[in-house]
């Protein structure tokens, strides 16, 4: 690896700032997944029926599945515009190590799709009659879980960039890997709602986020190099 720590940080922040600016100019990129999240969550009560007990029971699962799908939706375009306008080539030859830039892209993805989901989730949770104490835990699990999802998803997005039929393929690659996050995220919230202990689930989500953080930027960087050969 070349480049010292400040240069790496500067490169990473540069990527994040540029992409945030781009997102600011095209708010649809942030808003569409959010609308999607709200709509998927609204599908379930319509399909299941308005019974309050059932909504209360299925709330954590529905919110988590909807969040997972919304994260997937925004992943497809993560490297697409960079690939099309050639800035990906610039990233590949830049003196800043590629894993640092890949981490920057993952952080950007989390800031523009994970964090907004976390912030809007209480509003949707209210419609599922979720008590405030449970909603707090929902937000914490979503916070920890979406970090892992953004990092894991970046690998999938890097592997499928430039391929046709990328969206369906990306879901096929990422969904099996995302199962642990979904299991621990949704079940922990259900456990809180049932009045059980939750420390185990939260520890797991935190530990998993750290684990993924340790390898995902490198895997994403490797995948980007391979996809651009």
């Amino acid at each position: 690896m070349t480049g010292d720590a400040p240069a790496m940080l500067a490169g990473m922040l540069g990527v994040i700032r540029r992409d945030l600016l781009l997102a600011w100019k095209r708010p649809g990129d942030i808003l569409n997944p959010l609308f999607f999240f709200v709509m998927v969550a609204a599908l379930f009560p319509l399909a299941v029926g308005p019974s309050p007990e059932q909504l209360e029971f299925s709330g954590p699962a529905v919110l988590w599945v909807a969040a997972l799908l919304a994260m997937l939706l925004s992943l497809n375009s993560l490297f697409l515009s960079d690939f099309e306008d050639g800035s990906l080539d610039q990233m590949l030859v830049s003196p800043v190590p590629l894993p640092a830039l890949a981490l920057g892209k993952s952080i950007m993805h989390w800031l523009t799709s994970g964090l907004p989901l976390v912030l809007i989730s209480p509003v949707v949770a209210i419609t599922f009659r979720m008590p405030a104490s449970v909603t707090g835990f929902l937000m914490i699990t979503l916070l920890l879980g979406t970090i892992s999802l953004s990092l894991l998803g970046s690998i999938g997005a890097a592997l499928t960039v430039g391929l046709h039929r990328g969206t369906a393929l990306l879901s096929l690659l990422i969904l099996p890997l995302a199962m642990p996050v979904l299991i621990f995220g949704a079940r922990t919230v259900s456990l809180v709602a049932a009045g059980d202990g939750v420390a185990g689930g939260l520890y797991f989500l935190g530990a998993y986020a750290v684990l993924v953080l340790s390898f995902a930027p490198f895997a994403t960087a490797a995948a980007l190099r391979i996809s651009n050969e």
């Binding site: 299991i183 621990f184 391979i226």
Partner: protein, 248 residues
């Protein structure tokens, strides 16, 4: 040592060697499976809890074991191919995936058939092993789909290798999380499939089946890798010369 590995991994050498090795896998494999199936079906005593339905484990456990082992073989050879740029390793990974997917399917199907008389249902979400096998099948599908979506063989090799390695890191975590998930659920108390306290008359046929399946899997893998190597080397001189001299 390196010289030996390079010679072994050279496509023409491997192509010939694999053909002569296949019988060495098929013959012991068939013997072991024949013994295991006969002893498992007719000699092993009936399980006092599960009756004769327990005999399904003689095909279920070996296929479940192979589905896990194949994924590990696939990920290991993909990693070797990625790090040391050995082309043969990529061919092994490509050949292993469909076989692994078939064995995963077999483990799921036999597990589900075993579940019908035991749990009264074809599918029990409360059983962690069946659920992990299902996710395993999805992992194989993802790997094969990525391979299929990339036309260039060298690029497909490397991309799918990254995916296989990321998947291999996740496999133990998936198992752990599925175990945790099902332990929360107070469902039907499941009868243990096998276990250390097994009667030897039941255990030996099972071990024979596991070993026999592994041998037969080795033969299948070798045959598929041969075809894969032939395809990848189709423009080389040695393939041309071999076919002109009517070798197989």
């Amino acid at each position: 040592m390196w010289k030996f590995i390079h010679k072994l991994a050279s496509p023409p050498h491997f192509y010939g060697l694999a053909a002569s090795m296949i019988p060495w896998f098929v013959v012991p494999g068939l013997f072991l499976v024949a013994y295991g199936a006969y002893a498992g079906l007719f000699v092993a005593p009936m399980d006092y809890q599960q009756g004769d339905a327990f005999r399904i484990i003689y095909v279920h456990v070996p296929s479940a074991y192979l589905s896990m082992m194949t994924y590990m073989i696939m990920a290991t050879s993909a990693g070797i191919g990625l790090i040391w740029r050995i082309k043969l390793a990529h061919a092994v990974a490509a050949a292993a995936a469909p076989i692994g997917a078939w064995f995963t399917f077999l483990a799921l199907a036999t597990g589900s058939i075993w579940g019908k008389p035991m749990w009264g249902t074809w599918w029990e979400w409360g059983d962690p092993r069946l659920t992990s096998e299902l996710i395993m099948l999805f992992l194989y599908f993802g790997y094969m789909a990525l391979r299929g979506a990339i036309d260039d063989t060298a690029k497909a090799d490397k991309s799918s290798a990254v995916l296989a390695l990321v998947g291999a890191v996740n496999v133990p975590i998936i198992h752990f999380s599925v175990e945790w998930w099902s332990s929360l659920h107070q469902g039907p108390t499941l009868v243990r499939k096998g276990g250390p306290a097994m009667d030897t008359a039941m255990l030996y046929p099972l071990l024979a089946m596991i070993l026999g399946f592994t041998f037969l899997f080795g033969a299948l893998l070798l045959r598929r890798v041969r075809a894969e190597v032939l395809y990848r080397e189709r423009r080389t001189r040695w393939v041309r010369e071999m076919i002109l001299s009517k070798g197989t």
